[in-house]
Amino acid sequence: MHLDRRDFLKKGFAVGAAFSLADLSGLFAAEPAPAATGDAPHLVAVRNGTRIDMLNAAIAALGGMKAFVKPGQTVVIKPNIGWDVVPELGANTHPDIVHRLVELCDEAGAKEISVFDNTCDAWQRAYAHSGIEKALEGTRAKLINGKDESMYRVVTVANATKLLDVKVHSLILDSDVYINAPVLKHHSGATMTCAMKNAMGVVWDRRYWHKNDLHQCIAEFQTFKKPALNIVDAYHPMMRNGPRGTNASDVVEMKCLIASTDPVAADAAAAKLLGHQPADIRYIPIAAALGLGSMDLDKMNIQRLQLSA
């Protein structure tokens, strides 16, 4: 199955192939993807497919990976690999998503693709047990140690009130394209973790954020660096005991994926999926007020895709 898909894609119909593989049952005929990025929706929400099919559909709807990754560019993908747990617990971004993102970037002509996280648990165990290390075997992506302080550089954040300077991983600073691939989860401290909060894994000192108004820091980091693309894995969000989870009863199958260039919009939509109002997750209104994106889902061009009835 795996090989077949790769061979198929190699023929060059990246977008088309992705569609033909999804079990679309005629839905896409009614709602075709826009051809050019100019018409691309502000946010794409997909439901009821496999992770890979939903990701393929979302990327196609945003104009294909070529809209984000130009040939010869360097790409960094930042999934959530914070915890030494198996994929069933929903604490990390699913390896299928990471693997498919790497493939798409590869097909778009990326020169280098790097994947990392500044993990909470022991990094080698988290990389292994999340399934992401194995998923990247045989791909062109490099899985980089996020626990190596020498790879981080201090940068100043202009116009910040709390996060005045921050030590950021050089891959985020130096790569041409930064793709954010969070998993949607309950979070005991910040209520919810998704797109913007995932950036806590690209900095060295998280304690500083916790100590200096967590929500404000989460929003202010986006003023320094916004991802080119946010892919939210909401296949089975963790509804409680987050962000680590205690066992598989903490997740609820939702079969959803959200994609947007706007991290504020992605978080706003994700908040709704967990049953929150976006304004109740404090870093979302702060980020919206800073002009980092839109949290007003009613006024947004959202493309909603149902993959199977």
Partner: protein
């Protein structure tokens, strides 16, 4: 029969033991059955494991049987400290201009007995305590490699990381280097220096004077079935065997080998081209030979033995130093029931279901768990457990925390001081208890959200409950806490607001239950936006 092949065989086995154990103590990610295989034949650890009933470790029994059969093979081929001394002696010869060799020297019997009885008598008097821990050769090797060599190797590794990246060699990662307290480093360094000097000047003198295992096995080896003997008729007294004998135990004048000091390296068998040195079966000697054998075995003086035993007992008494870890002001702070009656209150042990005293009594401070720890939370204690328990592992939550799904230290501990715990059992084994202090908490200090402690808590013993102004603040469910230290490590407050105290009374925590599945939100299939 020509037996010169015994030496290369010994060298090969020794190289294997040395390499695997050195890598293990350097912290290489070797599979634990491999490490356990090579520690399962270490004398003192397996003797402790068997004697305390923590595991059916037969290593010590096997070594006793082997020694009674063929002499101190353990000392030459299995004991990593013995092999290390051979390596040091070999390196030392590289720096010598003049040819150098050791002559026969008489045994230092009194010193041997002093150290042996000291070690033996401290066991009933004060647990494994100081003497066993500091004189077990396997543990001494472990400390030398783990505490002295490992930081140097990691430093070199960290220099190589950028280089490896440039030439695209994968598998090199920067490692955190944790140095033990300076007095500990100096102590371990001094012991190593003593051994190194002795080894480079006098071969296996350490093994034949200080090492209690050497003395015990020497006593048995002098009565072993197979022994090295000199065939006086064939011996031309050329002295080739003397040149390569590291134990200085071949006396050509009397034509005897002191088998209590012979470490069965078999160098002499390979060196003797006259066929005079041979392995003879000892228990079938002719009656005529018996009296001469029995007249003066080097360690047979019974009076001397008793004399040194008394001296040993006195030294043993000195190892029973007062336990200073009890003193604390915890009770003053928190009132009745806190501190006082519990020793080691603020020291957290590795994951053990038993009590701290038993753990300390069985641990020889070999550092294998510390070198193998996946997060680096296990660090050698200084005075935390008391001065007689230097270098035994403790949880250092300023460095890291215990990874919930890891049980590596319980897999590899060779003495059974950290008995094996399957992961599900380890996950409810309580080694400490989190104590929350609201006055230091970010949420109450600055009125902003934080929750780093709860975020890291793997059992959700630390959960966030409603607080002023829509904020949430930590609360500890003591029934769920296992004392892993994730909360303490993660706490961003300068003065930690959550601290784990060790030695809890109730050793088993409640397992985070498989509650009712979390409720889905209303929008079953559609989009809530």
């Amino acid at each position: 029969m020509k037996l010169s092949w015994l030496k290369p065989l010994r060298v090969a086995v020794a190289a294997l033991f040395f390499t695997v154990l050195a890598l293990a103590f350097l912290g290489a990610h070797l599979p634990h059955p491999l490490i356990s295989l090579f520690t399962s034949l270490q004398f003192v650890p397996t003797l402790i494991a068997l004697a305390t009933g923590t595991s059916l470790a037969l290593g010590a029994i096997i070594i006793l049987v082997v020694t009674l059969t063929a002499g101190r093979i353990y000392c030459s081929a299995i004991c990593p400290l013995g092999i290390l001394q051979d390596v040091i002696a070999r390196v030392a010869t590289l720096f010598r201009r003049k040819p150098f060799f050791l002559r026969y020297a008489p045994a230092w019997t009194k010193v041997r007995h002093l150290f042996f009885w000291t070690t033996l008598l401290t066991i009933p008097l004060g647990g494994a305590g100081l003497a066993v821990a500091w004189l077990d050769p396997y543990s001494t090797f472990g400390r030398t490699v783990s505490l002295l060599l490992r930081p140097l190797v990691l430093f070199a590794n960290n220099l190589l990381v950028p280089l490896a990246e440039k030439v695209h060699v994968p598998g090199f990662y920067r490692a955190d280097i944790a140095l033990a307290a300076l007095p500990l480093l100096l102590g371990v360094g001094a012991v190593f220096l003593l051994i190194a000097v002795m080894a480079s000047l006098r071969g296996r003198l350490y093994c034949n004077t200080i090492c209690p295992v050497g003395t015990l096995l020497g006593f048995i080896a002098s009565r072993s079935w197979l022994k090295l003997k000199i065939n006086a008729d064939a011996c031309g007294k050329c002295g080739e065997c003397l040149k390569i004998c590291k134990a200085q135990c071949i006396d050509l004048k009397s034509g005897t080998v002191d088998t209590s000091r012979c470490v069965s390296c078999y160098n002499c068998l390979a060196a003797c081209d006259q066929g005079a040195m041979r392995l003879a079966t000892n228990w079938t000697v002719s009656p005529a030979a018996k009296p001469s054998d029995a007249t003066q075995p080097p360690d047979s003086g019974r009076r001397q033995f008793l004399l040194t035993a008394t001296g040993g007992a006195l030294v043993a008494g000195a190892s029973l130093l007062p336990d200073i870890s009890r003193a604390d002001d915890h009770e003053k702070k928190h009132g009745d029931g806190h501190g006082k009656k519990r020793k080691y209150k603020n020291v957290v042990t590795p994951p053990i279901a038993g009590d701290t005293d038993t753990f300390l009594a069985h641990c020889t401070a070999c550092q294998l768990c510390i070198s193998s720890c996946t997060t680096g939370v296990l660090q050698p204690a200084f005075l935390q457990y008391g001065p007689q328990h230097l270098l035994k592992p403790r949880m250092d939550y300023s460095k890291s925390f215990c990874n919930y799904t890891c049980h590596r230290c319980t897999e590899i501990c060779p003495t059974g001081a950290i008995p094996f715990l399957p992961v599900p059992q380890k996950q409810i084994t309580r080694i400490g208890m989190a104590h929350f202090n609201k006055e230091h908490c970010i949420v109450s200090l600055y009125h902003t959200d934080c929750g780093a402690c709860s975020e890291h808590c793997p059992t959700k013993a630390v959960r966030m409950v409603p607080y002023e102004g829509g904020l949430v603040i930590p609360e500890v469910d003591k029934s769920l806490c296992i004392g892993c230290g994730a909360c303490e490590f993660a706490c961003p407050a300068d003065d930690k607001a959550i601290l784990v105290h060790g030695a809890p009374k109730n050793k088993e925590a409640r397992r985070p239950s498989e509650e009712k599945p979390a409720a889905p939100t209303a929008n079953k299939d559609g989009f809530p936006f």
